[in-house]
Symmetry: D3
Subunit: 266 residues, 6 copies
């Protein structure tokens, strides 16, 4: 279940999945709405329960993924594929949404939780957080984004492989040193304050600049540097015509905080 609260330009999402199946279609609807809502400038995502995510409930999953219909193996495969694609879509919307998503993780982040946070833009966690690519433990190759995004998120391929092949837990310190998270906080309260502050800083910047930055960072990940530069030049031939540059430059020269600038909706 997703809890949505909006404080001006920052949308706070809290997801609750203790013992309940992730509501994936809710994710899609939610991020589509955020994408279209020009008031929203940044998303802050955290867990509402005692853990960030308890992973996929095994009984629920069994009834969903493991008993697909179909008259033969090909038709069963086809129905499984549709489900997997739908699951993948639920996290890919985060990436397609041009508003940055800051995710704050406490406690356990397991299975689908790792798929989820790998698709977010900035990751932070509490000192007691731990991460587990759980899928191999239940006979699965993780198929909702972890194997595709995690190696491009952290800088040690040996570590990624170890996590995915042994399902061992990784704790906050290693998450920080490996680059999975860029900040660790003492506890959840401190983290929520920190996440909110960072979200506020992003929300105070020109939305033209912020969203163009996210879009081009993701584009560059999947293209050569030459292609990335070409796309960037094509992007900015219009985006540099924004009034935001002049507004921002003027505020900078007047030593004013970005927060004092009023940007038009984007």
């Amino acid at each position: 279940e997703l809890w949505w609260s909006s404080d001006g330009a920052v949308v706070e999402l809290r997801w609750s999945c203790d013992g309940a199946q992730v509501e994936l279609s809710e994710m899609v609807d939610c991020f589509n709405e955020i994408t279209m809502n020009s008031d929203c400038r940044v998303v802050m995502l955290s867990g509402a329960g005692k853990l960030f995510t308890a992973g996929i409930d095994l009984t629920d999953m069994a009834s969903d993924l493991l008993s697909p219909k179909g008259d033969d193996a090909a038709r069963i495969s086809w129905n499984i594929r549709r489900k997997v694609v739908k699951y993948q879509e639920a996290f890919s919307v985060i990436e397609r949404c041009p508003k940055p998503v800051v995710v704050a993780i406490h406690g356990a982040c397991i299975g689908a939780g790792v798929d989820l946070i790998s698709a977010c833009d900035i990751r932070m966690c509490t000192q007691d957080a731990w991460f587990q690519v759980k899928e191999v433990d239940i006979g699965l190759a993780a198929d909702v984004g972890t194997l595709q995004r995690l190696p491009k998120v952290i800088g040690s391929r040996s570590l990624v492989n170890e996590l995915a092949l042994t399902a061992r837990k990784m704790f906050a310190d290693e998450a920080k040193s490996s680059g999975l998270v860029s900040r660790v906080f003492a506890d959840k309260e401190a983290m929520m304050a920190g996440a909110l502050e960072m979200a506020g800083q992003i929300a105070a910047r020109s939305p033209v600049a912020v969203q163009g930055t996210k879009i081009n960072l993701i584009y560059s990940r999947d293209h050569s540097v030459t292609d990335g530069l070409d796309y960037m030049a094509t992007w900015n031939m219009s985006m540099l015509q924004t009034q935001d540059v002049m507004k921002s430059a003027q505020a900078a020269m007047e030593k004013k905080s970005p927060k004092s600038i009023v940007f038009s909706k984007f």
Copy 2:
């Protein structure tokens, strides 16, 4: 020379190359056999001698690579190319083999040794290990995989460039902090025990899950996230139909160890 010993699902390979040229065709035969042998689930690779690898013996190499035949420069080039491709192939088989390869490094890992470990899946080393991309010291651009794989294995491009352009040694601590290895052990004995334990953990998981994980991790490295997700969904439309999911889920619910599950051959 490659020593092969198989303890159930774990194949132990020890290579010995102190003063001797690497037997590359042996590598190809060995990994092709491992690929086809459905009893083997994971490979553990280590050095049999005092060092992990002493690099290419210069006299041997001279007679092999440096005196190619051919009536003109083009024909000499063509013969050199065939040799280089054969050398490359000797390490690429490791990557094409769907069984994960854990490599345990002690002492010196030089030249071809770095090409080799870059193609393995999980790297660990002893405290006294050191690594050297030696090729530039003998007038060569490393052409058997280091320049292609190392930058995708560790997270600092500045470091990769420094290592490849200056041939300086990197010791265990920097290998750990840079992500080249994910574990450092006090000595070889401890490392061999640790590697064996990790290999055992991987061997205890569903081979459908483990091998699908390796294949998709490597696929994702060389493709965009979108392409990676599509391939994953296509892969799993059949692989999720394995009994291993139900067996693993049941064991997990019954709090049994993965090692207690009997998976069919794969």
Copy 3:
């Protein structure tokens, strides 16, 4: 302004941009000359002023980028695009130049400075250096290389996103642990000595090996491992025919320093 001084095979460039606009066309001319000059084997780039770079001067930029001519929005866009492409080109020449570029950073490295160093091969800095992806602060998505190269330079995507979206400062320690720089020195004097020594080590190696290494490292970044290996084999079918291999091998066997070898011009 670029200061050029050449000590044998090492070209030292110092750029001065305190309060002055970066002279981009100077960069292009300078690196084209270095590319063609077969005496030059390595470039060492540092800042001549109190800071490495003070970023783009806002008043100058305003008159350049922000008042493009054109009869309608499309024509203005077209003129902006040309300027952006020209700016991009000024740093891409560094990458296209086959001679390695070692960059030594002290004090502030802001905005265009980060674009610049991301295009260099080896980065080192002083303890008091700090880095800032400043563009979002003035309403811009960084478009001269930072968004394309930085994520492929350091190993934490969460950190890259944080830096680019919040414009926060990163100091020397985090620059080291994240892999942006591979060495940190106590002060500028120590750094300049260290950079010169490293440049000297690279300059002492075979230019055939060194430049082939740089070219293939950059090629591999933008291609799959399979493509990278194929290109490497095609590259080396001629480059292995250099006398430098025999000269280097002989020096190595005679325990002589690479610096004692006289390589032909390349």
Copy 4:
């Protein structure tokens, strides 16, 4: 407006756009429904009016694309981009739908009509049909698929460029000789009969085979042969397990028509 009539496994769509704006969202809904409807095996698309398509009505387009809102050029650009992406989506759904689409063209096929037919799988036309990439005549680079798909649809790049840059008409004979259409019929009646017959032939084949063929043909267009073969092998490892192979093989051995086989829903 889209007219939908379903005769068993063949869905007939007729679009009517004489003087009216193309209802793009209708296209998306329609093809999503066809994708999910396992009774539908093939789509036959034709024009309901006197012409296949009269192009975009200029007055309507003006009010839609040419008067976008936004406080500055960047914001106007952003809103234009959203519209263009939505237009593109309306034709890309045809390609994403795994059921083959046979399009039958009579009379004029102009502007958006060419975007539309380029996204279909099999093209046929009447002797009096003509085609016109009209966009350049109204100051536009065609942005809804023609420039992307047409060069991959027909075999002469010189011709594609000529059509797109001069907006000249191409008649049925040249459409046939250039490969844009694979069949030309004397008149609409004959064409509709021919299209229906071809649609019937496709509908009579195994839907597992037919849809796998379409999906892999489109995948191959955008990937290397090596990647295409790998995807195909991954696809068919499940799809070859269909009963349809045995049913089809048996019918073939018994010299029965494919139409006599009853395939399960897919």
Copy 5:
């Protein structure tokens, strides 16, 4: 069964498959041998029987592809995948062999025959030849190369789709006008003479030039023009150093036939 006869530099292969299963491993061995044999400069492939190929024998195929072993659907899939990859490999060797392959087709070319000829370099046929992408008729998406190569071989996508989705026959005239073959001969005797003459012309040219041409044509198909040019320049930096250029230039200046030049082995 493959018949091999070698007349100097031209290797003639005749395959016979009337009523017998294609011996795929024979193909791999044969082309590997041709690749390594420096006397062989060009391959001429034709059918030994009454038809070029009668397609896959359905009974044989059933026992091979349709009764794979495996304890669950995943394991069956894995075994099917191995077989498909092996089949693909049997035709991909033709493409990897640097010697050009001229294929001469008479009578029926069905199913695997189309996969085969799509992987050859130059196609010619008799007036009575016909082609059929048969797979969809027996419940299969063609998985041994037709769907990957045929669209890159001929210039009409509409025609490719029609052939693959309806399994209709295409006769010699359409094969010529669509570009599948570049020559049509009155009968088999005339074709064999024509093919032999063309093979002789290719065999008379510099093998450095001929094989470099094939390798770069195939490379370019799967890469961008920019990448293709870069690879070509890297290729030719050694290959232009061949004596063959001077020999060929001299013969051209002296108006001598290429056949009079003696090229070194390559």
Copy 6:
């Protein structure tokens, strides 16, 4: 030698190379000037002499490409590579120039001539024109663009391979049916009139539309359809804001010729 004459928006280039070496640096300068000259809207290129091009003069080439300097094979290779890249660049500028290039070919078009015309946008020829990929005859794999661009220009891969591997002549009719040229004229006079008329038609259209069309057509050739559509949408988010759309739409509604519209410089 290049002759330049400009009639308003159409630049006519005539190249003369009977017996003289192609002046490649002239090409680069010329097209760079055309790119920057906003008066020029389209280029018409033809041959000034009795033939379109007589190919590379063998004696000149020998002194240029065949006697490169260098102390060893690697250094010779490096110098050859630089020359080849420079030759490639001379034709790639045509493609990078956003103004369309119509090329009119009469008589012989040999060797470098084919490289040249493959890089142009629209090709037409006289009835007596013939084309020859000559390189294989003098021991070369064509390395200045033919092998990279020709297969993407015409629709029969069998024909491309035949031309490149046998160096046979192709006459006007086959050039037309294969799609190499899109128009054939009776003689040079008629062709020049036809080319001028076509150039005039292109010059009369909105330069925003025309140049955006060329840029996106070339982008699409080297990218997937998905990437091409994304780039197009990014391109047009600014380019659709041109007044040219309204001017063109109005002229179209008033049934005026495009030639009557006055477009601003671009």
